[in-house]
């Protein structure tokens, strides 16, 4: 739970300094997944990150979607996993599947 607070606090600091910020949250997992439901990644408009939603395998793709969400303000639901062929490039090596919700803060 310390990481939850770490993400919230950093996101708060980014917002206070006038940055655009998005938060990505693991909302469902199937099989073995590196981070539990509720894990969060905060992203600012320069692409800086705090926290994590995987062991590092999908963060790159999530940051891209987060930057898009900061721009257009729309929430996004992302699926990652080995059964999704298109997501294989950024997929989870461990064979798990995760669903990540991305939304703009503020």
């Amino acid at each position: 739970m310390s990481d939850a607070l770490e993400v919230l606090n950093q996101v708060g600091k980014w917002k206070a300094s006038g940055k655009g910020v998005a938060v990505a949250t693991v909302i469902t997992t199937w099989g073995s997944s590196p981070r539990p439901v509720g894990s969060q990644l905060g992203v600012d408009d320069s692409g800086a990150m705090v926290g994590s939603v995987s062991g590092g395998c999908i963060e790159g793709a999530v940051v891209q979607e987060a930057l898009a969400a900061i721009k257009d303000g729309k929430p996004r639901l992302l699926d990652f996993g080995v059964t999704d062929e298109q997501a294989w490039d950024v997929g989870l090596a461990c064979g798990g599947k995760v669903q990540v919700f991305v939304e703009k803060v503020g």
Binding site: A4, I27, G38
Partner: protein, 242 residues
Amino acid sequence: MKIETLAALQDSRTKRRAVTLATRLSDAAEALVYLDGATGALAGDTAILSAARRAMAIGRSETVDLGGQKVFLNVYVPPARLIIVGAVHIAQSLAPMATLLGFDVTVVDPRGAWATDNRFPGMKIIQDWADEAFQAMGLDVSTAVVTLTHDPKLDDPALEAALKSDVFYIGALGSRRTHAKRKERLAEAGITEEQFARVHGPVGLNIGAKSPAEIAVSILGQIIEVKARRLEALAGPKVVAA
């Protein structure tokens, strides 16, 4: 996530108040659900409120399907507390390591020479006898207590007070011989064998730890294990989402 929501989550954390953030996935509409109330755009949705409170009771975040609307329930429970009795050398490793693990750490020692900001930079320190300090803090089911002083007049009252509460973990530093003597002393104070069995002693996992830092790792390994098993038992078998 609204900026007011972020502020409310941080505020709840400071006040050690449990809260669940419900977010509708279609439009990111929110409700902050507390045990005794709710705020936000979805706060009037009784199905969401009851699902959020159930998730809070078992301490597990999840996505639920409520009559066709998918809602993510993110449970924020206050972090587990670790109270370290004895501002000794091992405590100087244990306190920062436990902080890194997300524990809300307090060091308790009535001896002013030991319980100093210099020895424990940035740590919460209470210069008082453990039983007095416990009374002020209020021991609860999300608290762990570890005694490290080796001194019966400091450790024993702490263990006695901890055993009378429902803390999830109690550990006491000391050899098997020390632990056996401790058991005899506490028996005289009215602690039964069954009650005493809650005390982990010699404290920590048996990993051959020698240095203060290694002993801290063995203690934290044991606390993590006890905490995880307890939560598993509370939550029951994991339901796989459809």
